[in-house]
Amino acid sequence: MSKIHVSATVNGDPVEFLADPRETLLDCLRDHLDLTGSKEGCGTGDCGACSVLLDGRLVCSCLVLGVEAEGKRVETIEGMAEPGGELHPLQRKFIEHAALQCGFCTPGILVASKALLARNPDPTEEEVRYWLAGNLCRCTGYDKIVRAVMDAAADLRGAA
């Protein structure tokens, strides 16, 4: 099957790649753009480890075809910290609260949490839990993740 040329913006940078029409956006990020921070845990949109923002909307990149990224803006975990390396408050709070154990679900949860805080800067515990219900973590029991997200939200509100 012939490949399709795709132009997109990833983490602010213009990119081009050739996608097999069957390849997911996740495949293209990982295999064509070497952005392996987004993870595949299920390939069926159930685990959220591949979460990215597509034109600002939170999606499972395993459920989006690579060719669908044409002309779109993609934001991944690799673009979350400032270009100079300063961490996003969510990233800092995840380390501080020990909100990761194996760390495999962490990129997806950070991206999803950032999307939550963009639309709801002051979420309740229940709102955090329901928003993150599409992101599986098998290590932590979610306790420290929820605390880290709420603490980061407070931090961001304080800074605003």
């Binding site: 154990q101 194996c102 495999f104 029991g141 979610y142």
Partner: protein, 750 residues
């Protein structure tokens, strides 16, 4: 007392420092199994049996091999013959021989120039199967007329006349059982069942394997144990172990499931056949669920005798477990050993049967066997406490083992903290929260032995007085932080001055995996002993400089100093100064320890859960959850709490949602996360923790190991809470809404 208020003589041990791999893991830089690539790499795909039990008549790969870009196909014919025991088990499970034993069993594999092409090629490999009768349920498999899975597979322990699928038989205990039951005021006997569950790590198995015609190879792989991968792949392929170099990636969860091999040997076999090009294989989720190593399913009878005041007079357990089509993999022995471990019993009997079935080869899963044993024993204790009107914690305190007691499974306990755990549970505010309608509280205790295992650790002082540590136990949940804390504490230098590296097989002697709750205990103890060796060398360097006896030098706060006024008057010589001069004073300064670290300390935990059961739907909501567990010493309290919380969450999933569902065709019906439903954030409350510290005298800082105990109590605790809320006693997991509703209605009906 809150952990952070406990006074210790330590500066670093017990503090909540940032983990050294944190930055890599929050920025997406950390490299896991599927993130590794090598030049010239091919991609592998595996052809799997769609049948639970089938003879393989013929495999025709000609159409696949005719595709441009397909470089190699392997079948069992490409593997050596004549293997025995566990080596044969591993080989046959990695690639079926004449017979496929379960839905998902690998029968062929292909390597091609892209992942998509490899998948296309796999679909073109034609396998001619003769379908055989199958059995997946443990009780069905134990019937005398069940389909025979592997004739002659039983070991010496199985008495004459047992059903053909029984391959291992266990019988152990002590005391006069009949006299014990005769002394009881209440004797009850019940049957319990638990279904197979999967570890459910979010990272699927992945590896890149490379093997040349010269028998030299390399592998990059997600694993809990790189040396296990090495010996297993070497055994399956007939290689020299030392010629295979295995580098572990960061690991996206394991919980015991990544202590063995599945498709890893296939990548090496494909690589060898494709002229030595590296071959990457990444499983998808359905392959993980169908064809890796879930835990066993169990059918269990328990009988207990209790006096009116709650003293347990006798206990009997008869457990049946299937662990797939291979022997030795069901944790029936551990389940029996753990079931009554919290209690001092005058008489106890354990009978166990390991049974073959047409299911994937079981692997370890967090405290293997303990959750099943706890579910059966702790459910029955709770039922009898209710019948006698006794407080479940009081009864556990009355029967709790303490130092010097003979355990239910034989050995005598050394220092343990069960009574301290129970007392802390009783004192916790969660145990006194008033409950509303349809709500109930459940209590249960769990046990894990903890473990040492072969361990080899090296450390070295860098030129500037910082330190590097080479360990062989992959970091799954923060062990680099805890090891770094212990080494820094021992050296008397800042935590940030220590780098802990998880190294490849070429860099150390054989290490067992990160399993059995051993990483912080065993690698930790070895790292401290290795560090002490380096400290001894630094004291000798200082003594030589000062011209005094090395025995007269001690190490204090990161510096050598004369041990007293008689030793001589010299200012302390700091580590940076000794390190800076090392080249002139005798060369590199290193420490090493290898061996089997003695002094394992067992751990107990007690959980309290409050649930609310919807009487109309049977849905159980966990309102409140408390984990109290003896850590011995919490080196990094946050990651100890994380182990408690994560174990509880897995146990809650096992209790309420998770199970392997097989159709009558023997195929797994729920091989994706949508249907194999692990707990999500909205299913759980905050999980409260209390770290009890009864230090283990066998470890320099008192560590016991904290990873595993916490998965056992949730199964019975939640069953006990549902019984308290509804009056319905569920004895078959998982306790799904339809099952709970049926039990409530059965109770109400009569």
């Amino acid at each position: 007392m809150a952990k952070d208020e406990i006074k210790t003589p330590f500066k670093l041990v017990g503090t909540r420092v940032p983990r050294p791999d944190g930055l890599d893991k929050v920025t997406g830089r950390a490299r896991y199994g599927a993130d590794f690539s090598a030049p010239g790499m091919l991609f592998g795909a595996v052809v799997r049996s769609p049948h639970a039990h089938a003879r393989i008549r013929k495999i025709d790969a000609s159409k696949a091999l005719a595709l441009a870009g397909v470089k190699a196909v392997v079948t069992r014919a490409d593997f050596p013959t004549g293997l025995e025991g566990e080596k044969w088990n591993l080989q046959d499970n990695a690639m079926a021989g004449d017979v496929a034993f379960y839905d998902g069993h690998a029968v062929a594999a292909v390597a091609a120039t892209s992942a998509l092409l490899a998948k296309d090629a796999a679909k073109l490999i034609e396998v001619d199967y003769e379908i055989l009768p199958h059995v997946t349920d443990v009780d069905e498999a134990m019937k005398p007329d069940a389909p025979v899975i592997r004739a002659g597979a039983a070991d010496y322990s199985v008495p004459e006349g047992m059903p053909p699928n029984v391959v291992r038989y266990l019988d152990f205990g002590h005391g006069d059982l009949e006299a014990g039951f005769a002394a009881a005021d209440l004797v009850r006997e019940r049957t319990y069942k638990t279904e197979a569950t999967h570890q459910g790590y979010i990272e699927p198995h992945a590896c890149v394997g490379q093997l040349g015609a010269d028998g030299k190879g390399e592998m990059w792989v997600t694993t809990q144990g790189q040396w296990y991968v090495r010996w297993m792949c070497a055994a399956v392929l007939g290689l020299d172990a030392a010629q295979l170099r295995v580098t572990p990636s960061e690991i996206g969860g394991g919980f015991g499931g990544k202590t063995t091999v599945f498709m890893e040997p296939l990548s090496l076999a494909l690589s060898r056949k494709a002229g030595g090009k590296p071959v990457k294989i990444v499983m998808d989720r359905s392959e993980v669920l169908r064809a890796t190593g879930p835990t066993a399913s169990a059918s269990m009878d328990v009988k207990l005798g209790m006096t009116k005041d709650g003293t347990i007079t006798a206990a009997r357990a008869e457990f049946r477990m299937q662990g797939g089509a291979y022997t030795g993999l069901s944790p029936v022995g551990e389940a029996l050993q753990c079931a009554f471990a919290p209690y001092k019993l005058p008489a106890v009997s354990h009978i166990g049967y390991e049974v073959l079935a047409n299911r994937p080869k079981a692997a370890a899963y967090r405290a293997p066997g303990s959750p099943m044993g706890a579910f059966a024993a702790e459910s029955l204790i709770d039922e009898m406490c209710r019948e006698l009107g006794l407080d479940p914690i009081e009864v556990r305190l009355k029967n709790a083992v303490t130092e010097g007691d003979k355990s239910s499974y034989g050995p005598t306990f050394k220092s343990i903290g069960l009574k301290e755990v129970l007392a802390a549970t009783q004192a916790h505010p969660n145990y006194a929260v008033p409950l509303g309608p349809n709500q109930g509280r459940g209590v249960a205790t769990g046990f894990w032995f903890n473990y040492n295992g072969d361990t080899s650790v090296s450390m070295a002082i860098a030129e500037d007085g910082t330190a590097q540590v080479a360990v062989g136990t992959p970091d799954i949940g923060g062990s680099r932080a805890s090891l770094g804390l212990m080494v820094a504490e021992t050296l008397g230098i800042p935590y940030e001055h220590v780098r802990v590296n998880v190294v490849e097989t070429g860099a150390l002697g054989v290490n067992e995996p990160s399993h059995g709750s051993r990483a912080t205990f065993a690698s930790g103890k070895a790292a401290v002993l290795a560090t002490q060796e380096a400290i001894g060398e630094m004291c000798r360097r200082a003594a030589a400089e000062w011209g005094i006896d090395p025995e007269a030098v001690e190490w204090v706060d990161g510096a050598a100093q004369p041990s007293g006024p008689n030793a001589g008057k010299f200012p302390p010589m700091p580590i940076a100064e000794i390190a800076g001069n090392m080249s002139a004073t005798g060369g590199p300064i290193c420490g090493h320890w290898q061996g089997l670290p003695e002094g394992v300390g067992a751990s107990f935990g007690t959980h309290v859960v409050d649930v609310e059961v919807d009487p109309e739907t049977g849905k159980t909501t966990v309102l409140r959850y408390l984990v109290v567990q003896d850590a011995g010493r919490a080196i990094h309290p946050s990651y100890v709490e994380g182990q408690y919380q994560g174990g509880a969450a897995q146990g809650i999933g096992w209790a309420l949602n998770e199970e392997y569902v097989y159709g009558t065709d023997g195929r797994l019906q729920n091989p994706i996360f949508l249907d194999y439903r692990i707990p999500v954030a909205s299913d759980l409350p905050m999980i409260d923790t209390v770290i009890v510290e009864v230090p283990n005298p066998g470890h320099p800082f008192g560590v016991r190991g904290v990873g595993e105990t916490g998965i056992a109590p949730p199964l019975p605790a939640i069953a006990n809470a549902i019984a308290a809320a509804t009056g319905a006693r569920l004895r078959h997991l998982p306790m799904t809404p339809p099952k709970v509703l049926a039990a409530i209605r059965a109770g109400a009906d009569g």
